[in-house]
């Protein structure tokens, strides 16, 4: 309520001020129109007296000031006309100083001073010097700031700069600089003083108000940067030291932070680079509460961008030893500011790192040095939990990855893992994820076991549960992460099989620590990776036979077996089964019959003992059949044993249609096109007949339970198998049997009780079309088909 009242009062005061200002401005306008200098001075002074108020906040005062500013522009034009009418500017300059009140007097003086400089009756530097000196009379911070801001505003296009029409003698730029510097210094003093005047309870409010005024002060630095004549030399010798002196000496947190930032933003990059030492040496001298880290970060950010702007600027950086200076300075700042938050420290190092990567991409030692310094700061503390700090750490660690696009480089940095050690689990995981994503994005090839070991140590947050992270649910993020790890495992590759084996062993070592949650994601890629190696060895052995390599497929298969066994502790039998079958196939390719047999055995055991769900059984049995069909390594006995089991499993499936399909699939186990040894026509037919029987049974069951026959789909499927084997030349499959089957299907489908089944209709139609097509094709196959008549 109280503050409301204050605001309301302020509104009232402001409107009263504006009213007074407008009234006097009105009289002033009339005086201007009638060329009455005396009245013009009188009313303008009265108008400006409204600015003497102490009741307004900076914001409101600004509003009032802007109105006065507009009026002063008109007055300035009038003064100019007045001088062309014969009134001497010197006289005018004196005349306005007769005003009794200082604030209106000085506003008028600045206004006339502007005309004075334009008239060129006196050197600009003399007028400016007089103005900036006279303005000392206003010691009230707010009013002084606005007055000096007015001075700055009216003088900025009248500085005796080089190339300006107001250019003076040899030291002309110096005069211009001196003027701006002095105005800047005084404004800053006033601005700082504001903090210390008035009641202590309004300290925060004052801080806020000062924030609103900062641009008035900073504008001077902007003006300085715009002076043409300020070259590097002058910047180095005069401008920067003087500005910094003021910044350091004012001992004000707000001012130091803002002004340092201002310096960094307004002056050109190459100036910063050449004066790095001076600029940096100011940093440790700032108040301890100043956010130096942000200041320095901004500086380094600017320099990094500058370095990135083109390679032609890089020699400048080397020449001034930018890195050494920055590094040194950061060390000093951190030392000087004992209570700097860890986030700040990390921010500093992150910025320095970005800078170094930009400027010295070849100097890994620099980068390691930065990381080392960071480790020193981080170690011996509790693990980081501050979100800001961790964010910065992630940025710090990500920077080299992004730059080099190559984890190799990061792995060479000895301090990299040490920083990872300092992270809390969440961050560690996040960082590990960043690393993995980086590798995947850049398709980095990591080819030695040593590196792989280091890498997995680095990303252990993803590989295994860290302390206290034992929740069981699998959320989307987790799955995403593990998929990434799986992709990472796939990407590991070495051309040297021996090394590759080592890599695989290393990965295995790491992933086996991952626990039941992770293994289903990490084991398959490893297995596939291993099998890939097996196949590569196989190819090599063909070309380089007799090589006494220690890496043999056998050895790999042992490893693989052990790895898959790790899965048994987790109920993912269908996955393990799939993997065993994959291995069996690989062993088949290597002509390792016992190994392949063993894998099949394992798969069968799993099928029998672990896979109980009927749906899974169906998919598993099809997998088994598919794999077994392709196996050529087995001797008759082994094959018989396995096929026998497989057909047995097929017939024991729960649902009849499933049975039927598995059984007709089994028929393929006895007929291999490219293996003469495996062509058992009888058993093929047996399987198909058995399938037909089951299909019949299905229809009967349907009739019995539902009163209508089921779909003819199964029959059509079997028909297709018949046609397949017929085509392949299985003599047991006769034309008659096919024709009978077609007839049977037609009957089934035309029967009253049969439901209409568009899928079956279409299937049959296309099957018949196929027959017709083969007939039309002619040749040996065509002839064969010609025998089939509907």
């Amino acid at each position: 309520m109280i503050s409301d009242g204050v605001v309301e009062d302020e509104e009232k005061w402001l409107s009263a001020g504006i009213a007074g200002l407008q009234q006097n401005a009105f009289h002033m306008h009339r005086a201007l129109d009638s060329n009455n200098l005396k009245d013009a001075l009188k009313y303008s002074a009265q108008m400006l007296s409204e600015l003497r108020t102490s009741r307004l906040s900076p914001h409101k005062y600004y509003e009032l000031y802007m109105r006065a500013f507009d009026e002063l522009r008109k007055l300035e034009i009038f003064f100019k006309e007045e001088t062309s009418r014969g009134c001497s500017i010197v006289e005018l300059y004196e005349l306005v100083q007769h005003a009794g009140n200082i604030l209106p007097r000085l506003y008028l003086l600045c206004t006339v001073g502007s005309v004075y400089i334009k008239s060129k009756e006196a050197p600009a530097k003399d007028v400016l010097k007089d103005l900036v000196e006279m303005c000392r009379g206003i010691q009230h911070p707010l009013r002084g700031l606005f007055l000096r801001s007015y001075l700055s505003q009216v003088s900025r296009d009248k500085l005796p700069d080089i190339g300006s029409e107001y250019e003076g003698d040899a030291d002309t730029v110096m005069d211009a600089v001196e003027f701006v510097l002095q105005n800047f210094t005084e404004m800053n003093k006033l601005w700082v003083r504001m903090q210390h005047q008035g009641p202590a309870r309004e300290k925060d409010k004052r801080g806020k108000e000062r924030g609103e005024l900062r641009d008035l002060v900073g504008k001077n630095l902007h003006v300085l940067s715009q002076i043409e004549g300020v070259d590097l030399e002058m910047y180095k010798e005069t401008v920067l030291p003087r500005v910094l002196e003021q910044v350091v000496n004012c001992k004000d947190e707000l001012a130091q932070y803002y002004l340092m930032d201002c310096i960094i933003q307004v002056f050109p990059d190459e100036y910063h680079l050449q004066t790095l030492e001076t600029l940096l040496s100011a940093c440790p001298q700032l108040q301890s509460s100043v956010d130096v880290e942000t200041v320095l970060s901004r500086l380094m950010e600017r320099l990094s961008n500058y370095a990135a702007s083109g390679s032609e600027v890089l020699p400048e950086f080397f020449q001034v030893e930018a890195f050494a200076k920055l590094n040194n300075s950061i060390g000093k700042v951190i030392e000087a500011q004992e209570n700097m938050p860890i986030a700040g420290v990390v921010t500093l190092y992150a910025s320095l790192l970005t800078f170094t990567l930009q400027v010295h991409p070849d100097r890994l030692d620099y980068i390691d040095q930065i990381l080392g310094a960071c480790v020193k700061k981080l170690s011996g503390r509790e693990k980081l939990n501050d979100s800001k700090a961790t964010k910065q750490i992630v940025a710090l660690l990500s920077a080299p990855l992004e730059k080099y696009k190559d984890i190799d480089t990061a792995l060479n940095l000895s301090n990299y893992p040490r920083i990872m050690e300092c992270l809390n689990d969440g961050t560690h995981k996040e960082m590990a994820n960043v690393i993995v994503q980086n590798i995947l994005k850049n398709k980095t090839c990591i080819s030695t076991a040593e590196k792989v070991d280091a890498l997995f140590e680095l990303i252990k947050g993803l590989i295994r549960d860290l302390d206290g992270d034992t929740h069981d649910e699998l959320d989307a993020d987790f799955i995403e992460e593990q998929n990434s790890v799986a992709r990472l495992i796939q990407i590991l590759h070495s051309d040297d099989p021996e090394e590759m084996l080592k890599v695989i062993e290393t990965v295995r070592k790491h992933i086996l620590t991952g626990g039941r949650k992770r293994l289903p994601y990490t084991v398959p890629p490893l297995i596939f990776s291993s099998l890939k190696l097996v196949r590569r060895l196989e190819k090599q052995e063909e070309s380089v036979s007799g090589d006494e390599a220690s890496t043999t497929p056998k050895k790999i298969f042992q490893l693989v077996t052990q790895t898959i066994e790790a899965l048994t502790s987790i109920p993912v039998p269908e996955l393990a089964l799939g993997l065993y079958l994959q291995c069996a196939e690989a062993a088949n390719d290597c002509d390792l019959e016992p190994v392949a047999y063993e894998f099949f055995t394992q798969a069968y055991i799993l099928y029998e003992e672990e896979i109980t769900d009927s749906k899974t059984q169906v998919t598993s049995i099809h997998l088994i059949i598919g794999t077994l069909q392709r196996m050529h390594v087995f001797g008759v006995e082994n094959r018989d044993a396995l096929t026998h089991k497989a057909t047995g499993y097929s017939a024991k499936l729960l649902k009849k249609p499933d049975q039927c399909r598995a059984v007709y699939a089994c028929s393929h186990l006895f007929w291999l096109d490219d293996h003469d040894s495996i062509r058992d026509e009888e058993r093929v037919l047996l399987c198909l007949k058995r399938a037909l029987r089951i299909a019949n049974a299905v229809q009967q069951m349907a009739n019995a339970t539902r009163g209508s026959s089921g779909s003819a789909l199964l029959f059509i499927e079997i028909l297709n198998k018949y046609l397949y084997f017929y085509e392949k030349g299985v003599s047991q499959i006769t034309v008659e049997s096919i024709q009978d089957l077609i007839k049977l299907i037609r009957n089934e489908m035309q029967g009253d009780a049969s439901p209409s089944d568009p899928a079956a209709d279409a299937f049959l139609a296309s099957t018949l079309r196929y027959i017709q097509f083969q007939k039309d094709k002619g040749g040996a196959v065509g002839d064969k088909y010609m025998l089939i008549t509907d």
Binding site: G100, N101, I102, L103, R105, R136, G137, I138, Q139
Partner: protein, 323 residues
């Protein structure tokens, strides 16, 4: 309030402007005079004049310097058809000091007389030349709070009846002086212990009337919250002597030097143009009747409206306008 007042500083109670009332003891003639008297000065048209306010009217009055010759003509023209009988006509040049505390008594420090005509009668317009060669007029015309110094030409036609016919012509005397050979600056450090220490400097101690006071105020120690700082020009007029001395102080100029509270080390510039103010030279012991002195009064006002000030005398002089 417990303010330590050092010898150099005082805390004043009030600062009322010394309003003064000024009444002139003229009796406007109730009767129509029998004749009109015109006094015209020899170089009346070319002579410099000054505008003075008298009875609400602004009149232009000629200016003379010390040891100038004052000459001219006096014409007397009776109202048509009438004659003026007189016991003699004379013109007097009077330098008078009038102090108000002395019940409006005039004191003539200069008295010169010229007989213009022996007793007789005037029938028509008659013109008499007159001349006062190299008149000693050491004092300047002054119009103060309690004292007035005037120069006047008085023409009187003395008559036996109906009283004398008198006509006055005021004129102003202004005496220029050369720039002083020694003109030191005024520099002083003043303060209240542990509270406020300042050092001020004015570039000169003697200023001419159109001069500029240039100086600076340097703050050595500031422990009070100052609101603003003014420079005042005060005129101190003392009349009479001994126990009868009357002192009247008047603030002629109030010029704000500083707005807001300075901190230690601040230096505030002073630049005060004297021309806008109606100042006169310093008069020291004019004919043992009065003195007029000028002071620069530096006033600092704190946030509780307490005033701290330091007064310094300055000498004013009139610089020859040609130089």
């Amino acid at each position: 309030m417990n303010i330590l007042v050092a010898s150099l500083f005082l805390v004043s109670s009030s600062d009322d402007a010394n309003a003064f009332f000024y009444s002139q003891n003229y009796i406007i003639g109730a009767f129509k005079p029998a004749c009109s008297i015109t006094i015209s000065l020899a170089d009346g048209k070319s002579r410099k004049q000054v505008a003075l306010k008298e009875n609400g009217k602004t009149v232009l009055i000629p200016i003379f310097h010390n040891q100038e010759t004052i000459s001219g003509k006096i014409s007397i023209e009776p109202i048509s058809g009438k004659k003026v009988e007189h016991n003699g006509i004379k013109v007097e040049l009077l330098g008078q000091i009038e102090t108000y505390f002395d019940r409006g008594n005039f004191y003539d420090f200069t008295f010169l007389v010229r007989e213009l005509d022996i007793p007789g009668e005037i029938y028509e317009r008659k013109t008499f030349p007159f001349e006062f060669p190299t008149v000693e007029m050491p004092y300047e015309t002054y119009n103060g709070a309690n004292v007035r110094l005037r120069y006047v030409l008085k023409v009187s036609i003395s008559r036996n009846y109906g009283g004398s016919i008198v006509e006055y012509q005021d004129f102003v005397v202004r005496n220029c002086s050369p720039p002083p050979s020694i003109n030191n600056s005024i520099k002083m450090e003043v303060g209240i212990e542990d509270c406020l220490h300042i050092e001020f400097e004015y570039n000169k101690s003697k200023y001419h009337l159109k001069d500029v006071i240039v100086g600076k105020i340097y703050f050595l120690l500031v422990r009070i919250k100052i609101k603003n700082m003014d420079l005042e020009i005060r005129r101190r007029e003392s009349t009479g002597s001994g126990t009868n001395t009357h002192v009247e102080t008047e603030t002629l100029a109030k010029f704000e030097l500083m707005d807001g509270a300075p901190v230690r080390g601040e230096s505030i510039p002073v630049r005060l143009f004297l021309s806008p103010y109606e100042l006169a030279p310093t008069y020291l012991n004019i004919n043992n009747k009065f003195s007029v002195k000028y002071y620069l009064n530096l006033v600092l006002v704190d946030e509780e409206d307490r005033r701290y000030f330091k007064q310094q005398e300055i000498t004013m002089y009139r610089l020859s306008e040609t130089s």
